[in-house]
């Protein structure tokens, strides 16, 4: 088995590239779970929707507006997609999730699962299941960078960099700012936070919008790497849920670190024994569940 340091490092880099997606998505799930107490099963579908906002904005928006030369460019998509999907999230929270708040959390889970199936079904009906390529990758992010031990696509360096910035930026806002203190307090005891004069229902709506906005952001980042397809979300989210189980719900930093770590473990497994790379995360999940059921960063009940 030829396992040079170079191969290992390059697979780990590629793994990190997957890891940042796990991190952003599980971070959004953790934020939503913290305040709304629901496992947001529609997260994957909204990630997919983010990628489609970028794709359709690039290919169809211009013709639709009667200006065939207009393309929603990549940079604009990075902002527009989270806003569009965030607004949809606000709508979902205000019209549906809010009504379920007084019932068992299971209902929220079923509702979001149903929404995921509907969104994915609609897109499967209109778009190519095998996926479409996104051609909007900016010229400035094409080409490769020499990392010393390997040549790495510039675009992937960008994805890793910006994702880490977004993850740690979110962590900073939640754990270190006044705004974040409202969120942490609301996660612990929403009733008391209301009694302290804070509009908790509004905070919940905006948090949900923010969480799914993160998913859409990841979707745009993914568009130039993976092909944009109606099933990209459901494929991704299965792994992300395993990440969430391993990390343990509720910890912000935990969800980020677990995501990054498992991406790299996956990459490393590719070098050691490639066929196991797609199952290694689930194997770890089983082991963690046996040893520490609350997850690596979860608080024991």
């Amino acid at each position: 088995m030829g396992m040079s340091v170079q191969t290992v490092l390059s697979q780990v880099m590629l793994g990190l590239n997957n890891g940042v997606f796990y991190a952003i998505l599980s971070l959004g799930l953790a934020v939503i779970f913290g305040l709304l107490n629901i496992v947001n099963f529609v997260h994957g579908a909204l990630y997919m929707l983010g990628a489609y906002v970028a794709l359709l904005g690039f290919t169809m928006l211009g013709p639709l507006l009667g200006k065939p030369d207009f393309h929603l460019n990549y940079w604009a998509a990075l902002i527009v997609a989270p806003l569009v999907v965030g607004a949809l999230g606000v709508l979902i929270e205000k019209t549906m999730l809010r009504r379920l708040r007084k019932f068992d959390h299971l209902y929220g889970l079923l509702l979001t699962f149903g929404l995921a199936l509907i969104i994915q079904g609609v897109f499967t009906n209109y778009f190519n299941v095998s996926g479409d390529a996104y051609d909007g990758k900016p010229e400035s992010l094409s080409g490769v960078v020499d990392l010393g031990f390997m040549l790495f696509p510039k675009y992937r360096v960008w994805v890793i960099g910006i994702s880490l910035a977004v993850c740690f930026g979110t962590w900073f806002v939640i754990e270190r700012t006044k705004l974040g203190s409202y969120l942490r307090a609301g996660t612990e005891n929403p009733e008391l936070v209301k009694a302290f004069g804070i509009n908790v229902p509004l905070m919940i709506t905006l948090t949900y919008g923010f969480g799914v906005g993160l998913a859409a952001f990841a979707g745009v980042l993914a568009a130039p790497i993976y092909s944009v397809s109606p099933v990209m979300g459901s494929e991704m989210i299965i792994t992300v849920f395993a990440v969430v189980v391993i990390g343990g719900m509720g910890s912000i930093m935990g969800s980020i670190l677990t995501g990054l770590l498992l991406g790299m473990v996956e990459g490393f497994t590719k070098v050691v024994y490639a066929p196991a790379s797609s199952t290694v995360i689930f194997l770890i999940m089983v082991l963690v569940l046996l040893v520490k059921p609350a997850g690596l960063f979860g608080k024991e009940a």
Partner: protein, 238 residues
């Protein structure tokens, strides 16, 4: 000697409160004037906490009328009621464990002018200054109680709902809290104090309400207190 009746701060009439199917309060009527201190006394489960929670809007549902400074609140959401100038110190203090001491202090929204500034608070509670970067629940029980009081004094609230603030605390801290109550009363705060017994606020309270099974069983004014001790002890089962 009868004093001029103070301006009305809180008026509760015909209040019923429910948690889901359980009907907890059965028609509460009470009026508290500006600057008064009243206690709600009663046995465990009598409904004292539920009265405070009804005022701030944290019960499942409520009917009747509750006015604060003349504003009807029965249909207002909790955060808006708080903005009318209410400070709430819940049973078991409600210190947030994921927030530092200072974050706990700064959490409640300032609802009126005239609240204590942060330096004034640290002046009044020097322990909190020392521990300001600790996580909230790392403090001792007494310190947590001071924190729970301090954070509502910052907001400028002038109607304080205090739920069993002496519970489980050492006598010397109870003594400190009693002094604090005296200071607050002097400064003109209106206070509703839920207590297990009348001793804590005997010298300070204008009236004591005895709560029993969701109704007001009796009301005892300061003048009647010494004559009513026997009766009170019987109500409270001591």
């Amino acid at each position: 000697m009868p004093e001029a009746a103070p301006k009305e701060m809180l008026r509760i009439s015909g209040l019923h409160a429910f948690y889901g199917e359980s009907h907890i309060l059965h028609g509460i009527d009470l009026v508290v004037g500006e600057g008064e201190l009243v206690t709600l006394l009663g046995r465990n489960g009598a409904g004292r906490t539920t009265i405070l929670k009804s005022i701030i809007g944290l019960v499942g549902s409520r009917s009747g009328s509750i006015t604060v400074h003349g504003t009807e609140t029965i249909n207002l959401p909790t955060h808006k009621i708080a903005h009318l100038g209410i400070g709430y110190c819940p049973e078991e203090r409600g210190i947030f464990s994921s927030l530092t001491v200072e974050e706990n202090l700064m959490l409640p929204v300032v609802v009126r002018k005239g609240g204590l500034s942060l330096p004034e608070i640290y002046d009044m509670f020097p322990n909190l200054l020392e521990r300001r970067t600790s996580m909230g629940t790392r403090l001792s029980g007494g310190e947590q109680q001071m924190l729970a009081m301090a954070r509502i004094l910052r907001t400028g609230a002038n109607l304080l709902l205090l739920d069993e603030i002496t519970e489980g605390l050492a006598p010397v801290i109870v003594q400190t809290l009693r002094q604090l109550m005296g200071q607050l009363k002097e400064r003109g705060f209106t206070i509703i104090l839920v207590e297990q017994n009348f001793h804590f606020a005997a010298d300070l309270a204008d009236r004591h309400y005895v709560i029993d099974r969701g109704t007001i069983a009796d009301m005892i004014t300061r003048d009647q207190l010494s004559a009513s001790t026997g009766k009170l002890n019987q109500y409270l089962g001591v």
